[in-house]
């Protein structure tokens, strides 16, 4: 048992850190670190830089452009990118549909879509949830009827993150109503520019446009866009869930946010001294810091098992639940740290080029919005309640 990084891993960290420091555009990192609003271009710019470097598809098999990094190296990479303020790599193409196409797609799909995912030429969104199908995703109703060499798709998807920027959508659609509901689901790749596709914004509680509804009205989708076999979509979707998930805890990201929290709490004053010295506040910060320390080690245990080709232990299942709770704790503490100055709602002030007045310290402006926005993390990706159901059944056998 040895919790130290190897010499090679330390050298790798230096290499990543150096690259990120010199190649991450300063205007982008500033936005990320200061919790400012990111546009599509901010994500794409960084992803293209990683693509040029050959570091974009870290988890993919080497023959498809992957880096052959170990899970520990992928963890280090995530940490260094987060520390420097790199935008999160949008997962839908690189970490979701990409691996599905690699595992189950046709040669044509691999040849056509994979390079465009890696180069960020296509922006992907996910078409899973529907108004009537959230946690009970298998009950989904969006239909795809085979007509000659096309499918005709009708239905509605919801909660599509960044659907407003998307070129492609990977969709779970119902191709059959016979048998068990899971057995009638297929995995279809839909061009978002097709006639009949309508994207409508959903404004979330903090006032931002991040998610959407998508309507499909008689959308013609070429049959060659079906991934694998009809009726196997549910299997492919589940594959995604068991696929490398060590990034799901967001440890590197939370470590950075914790540093930022301490920074804010050192600037804020309460009772004649910096808030970070207030015993009650300090106690809560210490608790989340210790939770995060433990989660990092739990995460590394999972990564090490993955590296060694071992089956994940029960600790793997807690990463999403605990990771998102810590993320939420951090947004909550940051909002609390600025006291009354969490209240002003000035969305312009967390845009990129705001040079107007602030109400309170400039770092306070986005904090309530982030607290509100992060309530989503315990809901998406399989709600934390569903996660507990799954763990109870699959891990504890209850």
């Amino acid at each position: 048992m040895d919790l130290n990084y190897t010499k090679e891993e330390i050298a790798f960290r230096e290499q990543v850190s150096e690259f990120v420091r010199t190649h991450l555009p300063g205007d982008v990192s500033r936005k990320v670190l200061e919790h400012r609003r990111l546009g599509k271009d901010d994500y794409v710019r960084w992803q293209k830089i990683l693509f040029e470097k050959g570091w974009i598809a870290a988890g993919w098999p080497v023959e498809y452009g992957g880096t052959a990094w170990t899970p520990i190296q992928r963890y280090i990479f995530e940490e260094e990118c987060a520390a420097a303020g790199a935008p999160r790599i949008t997962p839908f193409g690189l970490y979701m549909v990409g691996p599905v196409i690699i595992a189950f797609g046709s040669e044509w799909q691999k040849k056509h879509y994979l390079p465009r995912i890696r180069s960020s030429e296509d922006w992907w969104c996910q078409g899973y949830s529907e108004p009537g199908s959230g946690s009970d995703l298998a009950s989904l109703k969006t239909r795809a009827e085979r007509q000659g060499d096309h499918y005709i798709v009708n239905g509605q998807k919801t909660w599509n993150t960044h659907g407003q920027w998307a070129d492609m959508c990977f969709c779970l659609v119902r191709t059959s109503s016979e048998g068990k509901k899971q057995e009638g689901i297929s995995f279809l790749l839909i061009d978002m520019h097709s006639p009949g596709v309508t994207v409508r914004p959903i404004i979330t509680l903090e006032g931002e446009h991040e998610v959407n509804e998508i309507w499909f009205e008689n959308v013609k989708v070429p049959a060659q866009n079906l991934v694998g076999d009809e009726g196997r979509g549910w299997t492919y979707a589940k594959f995604l869930l068991s696929h490398e998930r060590t990034g799901i805890a967001g440890v590197g990201h939370s470590k950075r946010e914790l540093r930022y929290l301490k920074h804010i709490a050192s600037q804020e004053w309460s009772g004649g001294k910096p808030l970070i010295e207030d015993p009650l506040f300090r106690d809560r910060v210490a608790q989340v810091e210790i939770d995060l320390m433990a989660l990092e080690i739990t995460n590394l245990r999972v990564a090490a098992a993955d590296r060694d080709g071992k089956a994940p232990g029960p600790e793997a299942s807690i990463l999403k639940i605990k990771g998102t709770e810590i993320q939420q704790d951090l947004t909550e503490l940051m909002m609390e740290a600025v006291g009354p100055y969490a209240l002003p709602h000035l969305p312009m002030a967390w845009g990129d080029h705001w040079i107007g007045a602030h109400v309170g310290p400039d770092y306070a402006a986005p904090l309530a919005a982030r607290y509100f926005n992060y309530r989503k993390t315990s809901i998406y990706g399989g709600s934390n309640e569903i996660q507990r159901n799954i763990i109870a059944q699959m891990v504890l056998g209850l």
Binding site: M1, D2, L3, N4, Y5, T6, E9, R13, E14, S17, R21, R30, L33, E34, I72, E80, A83, A84, G85, K255, R256, L258, R259, K262, H263, S266, P279, R282, D283, V285, A286, Q287, E289, I290, D291, M293, A294, L295, E296, I297, T298, L300, R301, A304, D308, P314, E315, I318, I321, K322, D362, Y363, E385, R388, N389, I391, A392, L396, G397, L398
Partner: protein, 395 residues
């Protein structure tokens, strides 16, 4: 980054587990509690012949040469079986003082006897006014020629009642709270001017309060350097906390498994109660706490012998905090999920819960550890897994 055990470690783990399963049953515990036994001499002999008492000591003295991981494996097994034996008191605490601070001639005399089970030692450091503060020592050792006369009160001396000798901390200079000026002494338990009361702790372990009314000891009884014992005491306390973290994981692991088993077998409303979602979620939350605690016990084991003292102290404080907090949740919820049966003394569940509660208190509870942790440095994030970092934000 390796979390696996070597073959040797796995063998140690298995052999301790097998031995305790056979010899450290819940019936054994009942009997010991009923008869107010501070230890089971046969069990101790068995541990000795297995080499378990020698795990942390150098092969030069007949030990196993183990480090933090080996100690963790032993302690986890002891926790799983709710051992009442003086492993912490004799091997980790007093043995740690001798091992880390003793002169060669002292080690040669004492350590082999600890290892073969023939000598029991206890660590007399805590004092009535100290609460959790390790550095608060009022007991004094006044020079008398080349000798010292010790005067003061020690409390909560774990397994003090079976000890042949005490390792006693006393102030040889400076004032209460000074980092400098504390010295460790070996004191024979049969000294005339030593008085005490022995008592049980709520988890079944037993301890001693010691009144030291002018006990004279020679210069050869000093362990380590005069006036400079605090770093040694802190190192030993860190070892003890790491050991307790591992023990707690063993307790939590057994408790969680027992709870899940109960959920599968206990029937109400015509079905196993484990089918009810509220209880499923509770069992999962227990698992989350358990796995987080396990991760921190691993960290503590790896930090225990670190040469980087601030990193060691911080990692172990964090681990002790997590263990206290997680142990409280797992213990409370185990009782809850066992319903009325969880409330009985008869069932082992409450015994596990009480041991977890005691572990939290020993050497400072979770709240105390959070305070220690948060004030240890200039609020930089723990460097337990160090990453070189450039300046990261310009506002």
């Amino acid at each position: 980054m390796d979390f696996s055990l070597t073959e040797e470690q796995q063998m140690l783990k298995d052999s301790v587990q097998r031995f305790l399963e056979k010899n450290c049953s819940f019936e054994n515990r009942r009997r010991m509690l009923a008869e107010r036994m501070p230890m089971n001499a046969q069990l101790w002999e068995g541990l000795a012949s297995l080499g378990v008492l020698g795990v942390p000591f150098s092969p030069d003295h007949g030990g196993f040469g183990g480090g933090g991981v080996e100690t963790m494996l032993v302690m986890e097994a002891l926790g799983r079986h709710l051992s009442l034996e003086p492993y912490l008191a004799t091997v980790i605490l007093a043995g740690g003082c001798v091992d880390l601070g003793g002169a060669d001639w002292q080690k040669k005399i004492l350590i082999p006897k600890i290892i073969d089970g023939s000598m029991l030692l206890a660590f007399a450091h805590a004092e009535p006014n100290a609460r959790f503060e390790l550095g608060h020592v009022e007991t004094r050792a006044v020079r008398d020629g080349t000798n010292f006369v010790l005067e003061g009160e020690k409390t909560l001396v774990l397994h003090g009642q079976v000890a042949e000798k005490f390792i006693v901390s006393a102030r040889t200079s400076g004032k209460i709270g000074d980092a400098h000026g504390v010295t460790l002494f070996i004191v024979e338990a049969d000294e005339e001017n030593l008085g005490g009361q022995e008592y049980p702790l709520f988890d079944g372990m037993r301890a001693l309060d010691l009144q030291i009314g002018g006990v004279k000891v020679g210069p050869e009884s000093v362990i380590g350097t005069l006036d400079a014992a605090m770093p040694l005491i802190e190192a030993v306390a860190d070892r003890a906390m790491a050991a307790l973290c591992a023990e707690a994981v063993g307790v939590m692991d057994a408790l969680h498994a027992a709870t899940v088993e109960y959920l599968k077998t206990r029937q109400q409303f015509g079905q196993p109660i484990g089918r009810f979602q509220a209880l499923q979620h509770r069992a999962v939350d227990m698992l989350i706490h358990l796995e987080q605690a396990r991760s921190m016990a691993v960290l503590a084991a790896s930090r225990m012998d670190s040469q980087n003292v601030p990193e060691r102290r911080k990692g172990i404080a964090a681990a002790k905090e997590m263990i206290g907090r997680a142990g409280r949740f797992v213990g409370q919820q185990a009782i809850q999920l066992h319903g009325g049966m969880g409330m009985t003394d008869e069932l082992n569940v409450s015994h596990y819960f009480k041991r977890l509660t005691a572990i939290d208190i020993l050497f400072g509870n979770a709240a105390y550890q959070r305070q220690r942790f948060a004030t240890m440095d200039d609020n930089q994030p723990a460097a337990h897994l160090r990453a070189p970092r450039k300046s990261w934000v310009k506002i």
